[in-house]
Symmetry: none
DNA sequence: CATGAATGAGTGTTCATTCAT
DNA sequence: GATGAATGAACACTCATTCAT
């Protein structure tokens, strides 16, 4: 009987605690993402991350052992952790590879490029050489899986005769470069408050994809029907 | 004895001083460029800049009011100048526009991309949002003229019927993005000591150019003869 | 499911709680003793004391107002008791005083020196100046009774003509110093993991006793038969 | 001519600078010694060391790379560095070994035991197990050389037939233990402000030496003439 | 009573900047 | 002008202590 009552009490207390405890990391990660993107890794002070998440400095270190671990968690939360989702999606794709690539780049823009998560990539490009440990982590958790994803798409196109034969090692950058450049640009000159060189991401991407697809298609073959010239 | 040594030291210092008095700022800028590119803005310590320039910490602040001013001076010093040279070269170009573009990107790699100068661009991408004033300067002095250069090439191609019609506003990034990405990559993951993802710049560029040129050429038209598929 | 698990946990905790309610302070003191001896006062974290006692951090502060109070309680808890036992033993001793002293130091080693209790003395030597109040307590409860014990032995030797006349005030340290030094050494350099200077306690003590007894015996008198030169 | 004038100026400037720069480490070491002895290693804040030396926190780290290096420097300055002095003195000693040992312990008291330097030894006994790196350093720089010194004296006595044969490995502690105990006592219970157990160092030492010398002398041999029973 | 999430003062160390010489 | 000794604000991380549950 007592056990029963206690179990209820415990459950409630535990529930509230856990709800609170479970919410904290998310709030901290959101705050950290914002600040890392806004100010860079080194310039982001851990106390400010905590304050923006509405907790004290100590609490941050209750959930993340160090600033570096916090950063890694941000990367996992916003990039690395979402790769499997892409993998599943592409494994199930049945249309033409050109459409697949176009779809990939467009949804990438919606899910990553247009979100604060894109700031992380720009951040890593800036800080990689200063934080080799982070660079290794990022390469293992994001770059390699991401490149594999792209490579598989391109290979599918080549295998099905939709794309011309490609040096895969560098061909991945045909897809990566426009996306990474876009993120870097958006968070550098695009964010400096002075729009001398505006860049409409959607139009930019559309043109890049079109030109790329046309550039990839085998000689003599007509472009896939869905492709439209800008 | 000590006096003796000191007198020698003083004499040498004096001699050096007079010889170099006017060279100082230049030596400091050179040292600063190296270090900013090598380590990034935040990680570059002003004392090391001074030491590499062969002067004392105090002297640095004699010529530049702050680290920030030094950074701005470095960026201002190392830009602009190059553009007119390219403009002249391209104004005189008589071959096909495809060859012209290929030539432009290849010589860009030799003259800029492969040199320390590429570090400045990467640096600007990293720090633009922290130095908006500088970002404006960089856009005016480098980006706009550079884009104009590219735009003129592309327009030439379109005008001569070598390229398909293009939305010029974004088409410049078809050329810019691969180059800027390459510089960023080279100075980030390419320089972090952990070569999980090596990238051969020459092969990378060749493939980008090929694909781009193929992607730009009008429907039904054969590729320009010099183009080779990778 | 979660409720189920929680209910079990709660039930167990509850059972434990009631069984142990009165044992708590004792378990905390035991854990604290171990850790204070092992790591010193400053380096002992209160959370670890709690964990080793099987309770939460908060519970520790339920029984002891502060880390300082806990320390004081540990020292107070682990003292006193032993002295009367020695006193009875020595009051009944009938052999030679040399044998008595030898016996005293050897059994001291077995009952105190070689046990964790020796850590308390070392601890007090280290922290006495930081806890004057505690130092007074320790002097009253341990040092004075202990010195009286030794003094009585020495006086017995002098009275029976076995030892030469002694300045009793300082003579007690002839016996104390080797023992206290041994404890300090054992828990400092003897415990630092780097045995550059090993010290065999038994041999050390034997030699100290021998030399001391020989040094105490009156001129011209032969050494007590049991004494052996090392 | 200019060189001449400059050399003078330089010399003066340099002189003043150097005098100041040379004085700093000494002032810092003195302050550090005081505070380490007063509060212990961990509890001594680097800022307070700096303040007591009349400089800012930053200046401390200009001269000592870390708190640990500061401590090592204190040890070297006050203990390790003075061992050669003793070695020279004893190498030149021509009297009896008993007198030599008595002299050694008495001058040790005057030069070390009675000075703040004695606090370092007590400190090391307290902190050795928490700072293994310091413990190793101290053993190498102080304990080993010190024990060698003592061992050499004892061996001299044995070789000349003044002392009975000894197990040298532990015999060094016959001399060391009384001294180390004295330092520990002085800086623990002797410093806690509550003199329940006063200890007159001079009398203490005299008695320890007497008893030790008597305990060391071979059977049947008269004590060295200078020895006096207390 | 017991818990453990939350706190925030405190610490060693760095480095841009100043200024007496 | 030139120096480099001195400064002190800043920052990541720790841990004794509190208190809502």
């Amino acid at each position: 009987m007592i056990t029963r009552i206690l179990s209820d009490t415990c459950a409630k207390v535990q529930a509230k605690r856990e709800r609170r405890k479970e919410a904290r990391p998310g709030e901290l990660l959101a705050a950290a993402l914002e600040l890392f993107v806004e100010k860079g890794y080194a310039a982001t002070r851990s106390e400010e991350v905590a304050r923006r998440a509405g907790v004290s400095k100590g609490t941050l270190f209750l959930y993340f052992a160090s600033k570096e671990e916090l950063f890694k968690a941000v990367v996992r939360e916003n990039l690395a952790g979402r790769i499997p989702e892409w993998e599943a999606e592409f494994a199930a794709y049945t249309g033409s590879t050109a459409d697949m690539l176009r779809y990939a780049m467009q949804t990438w823009w919606q899910r990553v490029g247009a979100t604060p998560a894109s700031g992380i990539t720009k951040l890593m490009m800036s800080e990689a050489s200063n934080f080799p440990e982070l660079a290794v982590f990022y390469q293992q958790e994001v770059i390699q899986p991401g490149q594999n994803l792209i490579r598989r798409i391109l290979q599918r196109g080549v295998d099905r005769g939709e794309f011309r034969p490609l040096d895969m090692e560098h061909a991945v950058y045909l897809v990566l470069a426009p996306m990474i450049f876009l993120m870097s640009w958006k968070h550098s000159f695009g964010a400096c408050g002075c729009v001398l060189t505006p860049l409409d991401p959607e139009k930019y991407l559309a043109q890049q994809v079109d030109t790329l697809l046309y550039g990839l298609c085998p000689d003599g073959r007509p472009l896939p029907k869905e492709s439209k010239r800008t």
